[in-house]
Symmetry: C2
DNA sequence: TATTGTTATACTCTATAACTATA
DNA sequence: TATAGTTATAGAGTATAACAATA
């Protein structure tokens, strides 16, 4: 009577969870010297990119609640990693830009996390590692381009109706 | 002087996070009628497999703390989805087995989550969807085969030393 | 002595709501 | 009226430590 397989090994959610948790756990120590761990690293990466984004833009891209973003930026600003700058175009928003100290810290973090990526992916042969990264990044870019909240809610409606 | 790229789009952690969050968010409504959401589904899947596992085995495989597992199983047992059974081989452990009600609920959940997978992966062409799933599952199987905690700690030591 | 599972507690992370200031 | 950001509060989720039963 079973119409669908009930095997954990074939469940996308399980596989995603295992790999994601492995990444988060492994990155914990590599990012221990900045606030927010691996998310602090992502915020710092966004802060070092041009043109600078405001809090809402970065929070949305990284899947961080705007209230959480406030606290995280407070800690990172105190640590001298980035600054909130006034946006000449809109006085409500604050542009997030990395300091020189933040940029050099980012250099070191990038090196550590690149090594970490290699370890995480070490279970696959080299060609497959590149293929997996490319596929994940294309998929993530597609998901992130949509309005994150509205799109998934629509999907859910479809699924539970159909 | 930048030796490594600082682009979010090329960061594995970012891509993993975006896809994983999209999955969790979309599965929230699909698994709303069982305790624990998408993790409850995974526990139920494990409970329906043979031979049955004990709490520790399942918790380790699913990345759930053993104390959290106790509460989750309490709720799922109250909902009549599974049972704790005495293990004749070791009277300390309890085997987790799905009830008939749990198995039929699992059938319906599998159907919903299969549809949901299709939606999540819709940003990629069909061939790439299959390739991504296969790669993720191979990688997850490799990561999960190792002792989850010890292995990642060793990795971290290597990375921070090297 | 080590392990499985339970319980109580404390902690972290996240979300909700109310507020200010700008648009 | 709507939006960006802040703050305080409450809530969910998670981890820590102590315990009983068993190996």
């Amino acid at each position: 009577m079973r119409t669908t397989s009930a095997d954990l090994d074939s469940d996308l959610g399980w596989a995603l969870g295992v790999v994601f948790r492995a990444y988060v756990k492994a990155s914990r120590s590599a990012t221990a010297d900045i606030p927010g761990g691996h998310r602090g690293f992502q915020v710092l990466t966004a802060a070092a990119s041009t043109p600078p984004g405001n809090q809402r833009t970065i929070a949305q891209r990284l899947g961080i609640d705007r209230t959480v973003m406030t606290y995280l930026l407070d800690d990172m600003e105190k640590a001298g990693l980035l600054e909130r700058q006034a946006d000449p175009a809109d006085r409500r928003t604050k542009l997030i830009v990395a300091t020189d100290h933040g940029r050099s810290a980012l250099d070191e973090l990038c090196r550590r996390l690149n090594r970490l990526e290699s370890h995480i992916l070490a279970g696959l042969p080299g060609d497959d590692q590149a293929a997996l990264k490319a596929l994940l990044q294309r998929l993530a870019a597609g998901i992130n381009k949509l309005d994150p909240i509205a799109s998934t809610c629509d999907v859910i409606e479809d699924i539970n109706a159909g």
